[in-house]
């Protein structure tokens, strides 16, 4: 009976998923087409002439293992710090009352309101003056503060009932232990979501690592990939092949960690 009842939901889910999948499928299938086939009419979804030449060229031209390593290092360090700082700040906004907290929250929101192009040249001057030019810290530290992350934790913590904190305080728990030992574990699902977001943001960073780092061996993946976009033309088959390769780690990461979001027993602190 349940199998029958699941049909409408499953059907809708998969129709929508298919709509989302088609463009991606096109992209992946196109990476297997030779350059000459990409633009010829009539348009075809599947390649006539399956080839991996784009991938081969991409793999030999770019030292993917090095770029993966560089990007992963920066992404992991930044993500851990981002999640921590966002959690601390979001928690403070959600669970404490003070006018200056509300004001600072608006300030944090304001950071999303200036376009990056405006902020970037000035940020560069700041990084240079602080002495972080050409260091890994120069790309890590400016990326730690994210209004989105702080906002996420604020909203999440705001759904945690105040009684929980009161009870803990009455138990004699200090504020920091309260945060560390109770609140943070409670927020594991949202921490995982933010970690995935943050990793993806750093994975795709290109302009910042490009201008801060001078040794090309330290460049990140996107910097290398964008060099395919030449002055006069774009080598599409290489770009497609390289893009697919660069997506794979993120997809694997997501598959592994998405269970954390969905299956985490959030209600563990709220047994009824």
């Amino acid at each position: 009976m349940k199998a029958l009842r699941s049909i409408p939901s499953t059907a809708i889910l998969w129709i929508v998923a298919l709509l989302y999948l088609i463009p991606v499928a096109w992209f992946v299938l196109s990476s297997f087409k030779p350059g000459s086939e990409l633009f010829s009419l009539p348009l075809r979804l599947f390649p006539q002439d399956w080839t991996v030449s784009g991938y081969v060229t991409a793999w030999t031209r770019f030292d993917f293992s090095r770029y993966f390593f560089n990007t992963a290092t920066v992404a992991i360090i930044t993500t851990i710090l981002t999640v921590l700082v966002s959690a601390m700040t979001g928690y403070a906004f959600a669970k404490y009352k003070a006018w200056w907290l509300k004001a600072f929250f608006i300030c944090i929101l304001a950071t999303t309101m200036l376009p990056t192009e405006v902020i970037m040249p000035s940020s560069f001057i700041v990084v240079r003056n602080v002495g972080l030019f050409n260091t890994l810290a120069g790309i890590i530290v400016p990326s730690i503060l994210t209004a989105t992350g702080i906002f996420m934790f604020r909203q999440y913590f705001s759904t945690v009932p105040d009684e929980l904190l009161e009870a803990a305080r009455i138990d004699g728990l200090g504020e920091f232990r309260l945060f560390w030992l109770i609140m943070l574990p409670l927020a594991r699902p949202i921490a995982v979501v933010l970690a995935i977001f943050s990793f993806q943001w750093r994975w795709n960073d290109y302009i910042w690592p490009l201008i801060i780092l001078t040794d090309p061996k330290n460049y990140t993946l996107q910097v290398a990939l964008r060099s395919i976009v030449g002055a006069d033309n774009i080598d599409w088959s290489v770009l497609l092949g390289a893009s697919v390769i660069s997506l794979i780690p993120m997809v694997i990461l997501f598959i592994v960690f998405q269970r954390q979001i969905v299956n985490a027993d959030i209600n563990s602190g709220l047994k009824d």
């Binding site: 939901s9 989302y20 309101m113 192009e117 040249p121 009870a167 920091f176 979001i261 959030i266």
Partner: protein, 313 residues
């Protein structure tokens, strides 16, 4: 049916007399201050400092690094308010935002609900499918969508023609182009909002929904009366972030149609880019950015008024 008024919390000393420790007041001020300290430092360094520079530049005729500049007072601003193109791009951006926010919200919420319903099958794979668009970089996404919706050689028009219709002018008709931007924007950002909703939906104690089901509420009623209100904080966040993001949209449009046809779909950030950065009028670009920020702050403050009731009970 209303949500239960008391959240049952099992603590061993729930009946103990409520006694506020005397140190609460002070620690309740010190603790948050320390918690936000790191954020304050980073904020000051990487937002206030560059932001202050940007404000200063907006009152000058600065042309970029290495050039001398003069203070010209409010000239940039008066020029801005006298420019028709500024109002046109601002209006277009607002129109897009009004269209995009509901679209993004409804679609990602619907997808999140489907992904957390106990009935649908194949949820895990579907989750990955929805996540993929978000991973694709704007350059590649722009190309994909041009191939699909290209006016001359795109797949969609090809199919429409094959079925006997006439291809839609996705690139040379301003309205069709705008709709296309909404579609592509929704496609790309579903994953982000969907994940936030999924985490929040999982946060709703199953006991509420089960109790309601026992009381005879059907799926839609359960959703409307329990899930939706409890999702309010997340909904608010999604709406606010989507609003701000839509107002700042730039890279995706560049990849899709360059703000075309002509300049009819030029949004405000592209305007800033075109008249400011491309012509090395950093002062002018900074002034326009300040106005954009002001508008966004006002929108955020208005929306913040709706985020009042965060009390679960």
């Amino acid at each position: 049916m209303s949500a239960p008024t008391q959240l049952p919390v099992a603590t061993p000393i729930a009946d103990a007399p409520r006694r506020r420790p005397r140190t609460t007041r002070r620690s309740q001020l010190v603790a948050p201050a320390i918690l936000i300290s790191v954020a304050i430092v980073l904020f000051a360094l990487f937002f206030v400092w560059p932001g202050a520079l940007a404000v200063m530049y907006s009152f000058t005729d600065y042309r970029g690094v290495g050039s001398r500049f003069n203070f010209i007072g409010f000239q940039n601003y008066t020029r801005l308010f006298a420019d028709d193109a500024f109002y046109a791009s601002l209006g277009r951006t607002l129109l897009y935002t009004v269209l995009a926010v509901p679209a993004h919200y409804v679609v990602s919420l619907a997808v999140a609900v489907l992904l957390t319903s106990s009935l649908a099958k194949g949820k895990t794979s579907a989750r990955v499918v929805f996540f993929l668009p978000w991973l694709i970089s704007p350059i590649v996404a722009g190309v994909i969508w041009r191939w699909l919706f290209g006016e001359n050689f795109g797949l969609v028009n090809y199919l429409i023609a094959a079925m006997g219709g006439q291809g839609i002018r996705w690139e040379t008709d301003a309205t069709a182009a705008l709709l296309l931007i909404v579609i592509v924007g929704t496609w790309g950002s579903t994953a982000f909002n969907m994940l936030l909703f999924v985490a929040a939906i999982r946060n709703i104690p199953r006991s509420y929904l089960e109790a309601a089901e026992i009381d005879g509420a059907n799926a839609w009623q359960r959703f409307r009366r329990i899930t939706l209100p409890l999702l309010a904080p997340t909904s608010f966040m999604v709406i606010l972030l989507t609003t701000i993001g839509s107002m700042k949209e730039f890279a995706m449009i560049q990849a899709l149609n360059g703000g075309g046809p002509g300049t009819q779909n030029m949004f405000i950030v592209q305007y800033i880019y075109r008249t400011g950065f491309e012509r090395a009028n950093i002062g002018y670009a900074s002034a326009a950015s300040m106005i954009l920020m002001l508008i966004l702050v006002v929108i955020a403050l208005i929306q913040l008024r709706f985020d009042r009731n965060r009390d679960l009970s």
